[in-house]
């Protein structure tokens, strides 16, 4: 099949672009090397909607950050996902660095950030009593927010899929060639795909994809910049109520402390440039470093309440600027590369920008019956007892709790499996429902979730994976195979 557009990568950028393109009459396909959407940078980050005072004035990064931030309320309402404007604070702990807050404020004004305020030490402490005793002042940005990065990415992809966009998982791009007739031929481990237009939204691999088609003097190198994080128990999720940043340095925005939209506390990230594009391993030094840094700005951090630590990779490029546009000498090949922080915040705006770009280039016309809204996996937690009983009467699976830590029922897991682009692995279920994301980290629920995946998808237990590929949980039955081995 000949596609009008192929998008490489089903992270938050690729999914946002897919959703925007799904507004128009076009055959669109997303190729993803992993088994699910949201498997790379999009799944392991700070989960913050940045206000937009960080990026250099006049940069594309600044523009898309502020625009993405503005779009977030409506988008999250349409896609039925949680988003909260809890406000951000950049905390200054050295008197001599106070002018830096003013610089940030000025930059924010230039970038179009609304409602910012510079706070005195007293004002800052009143708003956030657990700030360090050394706080000298803070920049407050009420438009800063917190979001679930999985849900944002999954919701946009799902909505795109409902509107006709194909997704091909476990499909890794190996080479891209242009044929004489101007079509792009994309070789993958799952055969060849052909399209008129290509969008490169490959995250930490966006350099590799770019370099497949770009001219010799136009190569880019994406440096995976690793960030380690700790996630803390909901018991201490209100240790701070705003997102607390240190003052930024040339390595980024520094180690933040923030509540998450689900009520945990997140601490991170570090910033370590590495070579391995799959190098999402945490290190003892990294974790120790981030704990030390976080303690500079927030006091009494309850690090004993860590429930998990993880690392993500930002797609950093030396110029520290989003690279979005048609690649020189590669007509109809659009880069969406080097999308590092604030990429999550910017994603709706990136989708809009690339969508508009392609609409104009291709002369796309809107679909008559585009569906703008989608319902998330229902969260029965907020229902009254009567409403919940009604629900359980209709579908008894909602009465069966599978994940006790996060109180997730079988009904929610079934919904996650059977909806468009449904979950096929434990992580897929986890990112759609939070089953297994709580304090026992799936110790109790993983055998039960495996049973559901086995039953619903007809998978053998041995085929059930943590996150696709060879990440199977069990290898064989007891008893059966032993005789053969001996």
């Amino acid at each position: 099949m000949l596609y009008d557009v192929i998008i490489i990568g089903a992270g938050v950028s690729g999914s946002a672009i897919a959703r925007e393109l799904s507004r128009y009459e076009a055959n669109v396909c997303v190729l993803e090397k992993c088994e699910d959407v949201c498997e790379g940078t999009s799944k392991a980050n700070s989960a913050i909607v940045h206000a937009g005072f960080d990026a250099a004035a006049g940069s594309l990064m600044a523009k898309l950050n502020v625009r993405g931030n503005e779009m977030m309320d409506d988008l999250c309402r349409d896609l039925d996902i949680p988003f909260k404007r809890n406000g951000s604070m950049v905390v200054c702990i050295h008197k001599e660095a106070l002018p830096g807050l003013q610089d940030l404020y000025d930059r924010g004004i230039k970038n179009g950030v609304k409602g910012m305020k510079i706070l005195s030490r007293e004002e800052a402490l009143e708003m956030e009593p657990n700030l360090s005793d050394n706080v000298e002042g803070a920049l407050y940005a009420p438009t800063g927010g917190i979001i679930c990065p999985f849900k944002l990415c999954i919701a946009m992809a799902e909505n795109a899929n409902v509107n006709g966009v194909d997704f091909r998982f476990n499909t890794k791009v190996e080479d891209i060639k242009k044929s004489e007739d101007g079509l792009w031929h994309i070789r993958t481990n799952n055969g060849e795909y052909v399209s008129r237009y290509v969008v490169n939204a490959a995250g930490v691999y966006s350099g590799v994809i770019h370099n497949m088609v770009s001219e010799d003097d136009d190569k880019i190198e994406i440096i995976p910049r690793r960030g380690d994080y700790c996630l803390l128990d909901k018991e201490v999720g209100n240790h701070v109520s705003h997102t607390i940043f240190p003052q930024p340095t040339n390595l980024g925005k520094g180690v933040l402390v923030s509540p998450t939209v689900h009520g945990n506390l997140i601490v991170g990230p570090t910033a370590i440039d590495i070579d391995d594009k799959e190098g999402t391993n945490t290190t003892a030094e990294g974790i120790n470093d981030l704990i030390a840094k976080a303690n500079d700005h927030v006091k009494n951090l309850p690090m004993r309440k860590v429930i998990t630590s993880f690392a993500g990779l930002r797609a950093h490029e030396a110029r520290h600027e989003f690279i979005i546009g048609e690649v020189k000498g590669a007509k109809n090949f659009i880069d969406c590369a080097a999308i590092e922080s604030p990429g999550l915040t910017s994603s709706p705006a990136i989708g809009e920008m690339v969508g508009n770009m392609l609409k104009d280039m291709m002369g796309l016309t809107p679909k008559a019956n585009w569906i703008s809204k989608r319902k998330d996996v229902m969260n029965p937690e907020n229902l009254s007892i009567e409403e919940r009983n009604e629900l359980i009467k209709k579908n008894p699976a909602y009465g069966n709790i599978i994940c006790r830590c996060e109180s997730i029922s079988e009904g929610e897991i079934l919904d996650a499996i059977h909806r468009p682009l449904g979950a096929r692995s434990l992580d897929g279920v986890k990112r759609r429902t939070r089953a297994g994301m709580g304090r026992c980290q799936a110790g109790f629920c993983s055998p039960k979730t495996m049973e559901i995946l086995h039953r619903e998808l007809g998978l053998d237990y041995e085929e059930i994976t943590k996150s696709g590929g060879r990440s199977n949980i069990v290898i064989e039955r007891t008893k059966n195979q032993k005789g053969g081995e001996q």
Binding site: C230, L231, E235, E278, T280, N281, T282, T283, A284, G286, I287, V306, I307, T308, S309, F310, I385, R388, N389, I392, K393, P396, A397, G399, N400, I401, R404, C405, S407, E410, R439, C440, Q441, A442, G443, F444, S446, P447, Y461, E462, T465, K466, S467, G469, R470, S471, N472, I473, V474, I475, E476, R477, T478, K479, K482, E485
Partner: protein, 420 residues
């Protein structure tokens, strides 16, 4: 709203024994709420033997031990609901529960017995560096997969933590044909019972490395190797002592945590040491009529003691609903200090206590040829020599009601470890 005299949250060994005791004490309307599909709790997956030497004077396996109590519950026609999750317990003892069959419903309970057990400390809480691939299990999860579901997690295994479940799983995986390469333990002593080290590790030539921890996990999809290193006195890895083991499975047996989210939401006061409720001599929490027993109260090493404790909780809950438990305050404080980490209970009311009261505690380090001392205010009243005490083994002292009565105006009982 339904009404029951006693609602018991959890149908494991603690909940079962509490129910039986309450029934024997004459309480009619008792309801056990169990989240799993059968009674017995975690004992169902503990298929090894060694249970019941104190209670039944014979060695039983976990399922057999559980069934002894299940039979009693069935014989006494005590009501129970399976596949039922308790969602909330309120301060005035309204229990909200939910299941597939019954939907969500509320029960007004005369008394509540908390018997939810404990969970394992997960990898994340240990901050082990490295990748996060498939193949990392808490030992209990692996135990369930192997013993109940009948599946093998892997063929080559490294175990971190020498808690009893880890040791038991070392033997179990070996018997099922896996190669257990090493058990690493952070502390300079094992957290498990001696007999388990001999019969689960030594019997099969599995090395136990004390003062070692995991410093790296390799493998992007499935575990491919684990590196362990020796640690110094502060638990920090010593550079140059790393040893790498290729494997496909890492089991974690690094401690158990009482599962008290429900208790906390109900307003039950918690001990930061045990992570369980603070209870008085009647095993009653700060909320009148809410009792706790078993691993939700503090982690036990022998199920026999769980049953014994639960029996007392059941009897006291029965007294409470019959109005026989005076509401006098428990005014004598029990303080654990100098080597003793905590005590259960932590307060006593002399009038409410039985003739004999067992006070259980754990020590914070290994003590050889030391004394367990008990002070009534400043007077030492007990001084028992113990050849050895270790954090992995629960200790106890027995207080006599007569002795406490003799000492009028007693404010504080202190339990400590003394060298001489």
């Amino acid at each position: 709203m339904m009404n029951y005299d006693i609602v018991i949250v959890g149908g494991g060994p603690a909940g079962l024994a509490a129910a039986v005791a309450a029934r024997n004490a004459g309480v009619d309307k008792i309801l056990i709420l169990e989240r799993d599909k059968e009674l017995g709790g975690i004992l169902n997956q503990c298929i090894h033997n060694g249970f019941g030497l104190h209670t039944f004077k014979e060695e039983l396996t976990g399922p057999e031990y559980a069934y002894r109590f299940i039979e009693k519950v069935l014989d006494a026609k005590i009501e129970y609901k399976l596949n039922t999750m308790v969602m909330d317990i309120s301060e005035d003892r309204v229990v909200t529960a939910m299941s597939r069959e019954d939907g969500m419903y509320q029960i007004k309970a005369g008394a509540v017995i908390l018997a939810m057990g404990c969970r394992e400390r997960p990898r994340g809480a240990l901050n082990i560096p490295g990748f996060r691939p498939a193949g990392i299990f808490s030992a209990g999860t692996a135990q369930r997969l192997v013993n109940i579901e009948g599946y093998m997690p892997g063929r080559e295994v490294v175990i971190l933590g020498s808690g009893d479940i880890g040791l038991i799983m070392a033997r179990r995986m070996t018997l099922e044909g896996a190669k257990v390469k090493v058990v690493a333990e952070l502390m300079p002593y094992s957290g498990g019972l001696k007999r388990n080290i001999v019969q689960c590790l030594d019997d099969f030539g599995i090395p136990l490395k004390l003062s070692h921890t995991v410093v790296d996990i390799e493998g992007k999809e499935k575990v491919t190797a684990v590196t362990i290193a020796e640690v110094d006195g502060k638990g920090k890895p010593i550079p140059g002592t790393e040893e790498r083991y290729t494997c496909d499975t890492l089991l974690l047996s690094c401690g158990l945590i009482p599962e008290n989210e429900l208790s906390r939401n109900a307003g039950v006061e918690m001990s930061p040491i045990t992570s369980g409720p603070i209870v008085n001599e009647s095993l009653e929490t700060n909320i009148p009529g809410v009792f706790a027993c078993g691993n939700v109260l503090h982690v036990h090493d022998l199920v026999d003691y769980v049953s014994e404790e639960a029996d007392r909780a059941g009897q006291n809950a029965a007294k409470f609903v019959k109005g026989e438990l005076s509401d006098a305050k428990s005014d004598i404080e029990i303080v654990a200090t100098e080597g003793a980490r905590y005590t259960v209970p932590s307060t006593i009311n002399v009038d409410r206590m039985d003739d004999k009261l067992t006070v259980r505690f754990r020590v914070g380090a290994v003590y050889k040829d030391s004394f367990v001392s008990v002070y009534f205010d400043d007077e030492r009243v007990m001084h028992n020599k113990k050849r050895i005490m270790a954090p992995g083994e629960m200790e106890q002292v027995i207080l006599l009601k007569d002795k406490l009565k003799e000492k009028s105006g007693l404010k504080k009982i202190t339990v400590k470890i003394e060298n001489e």
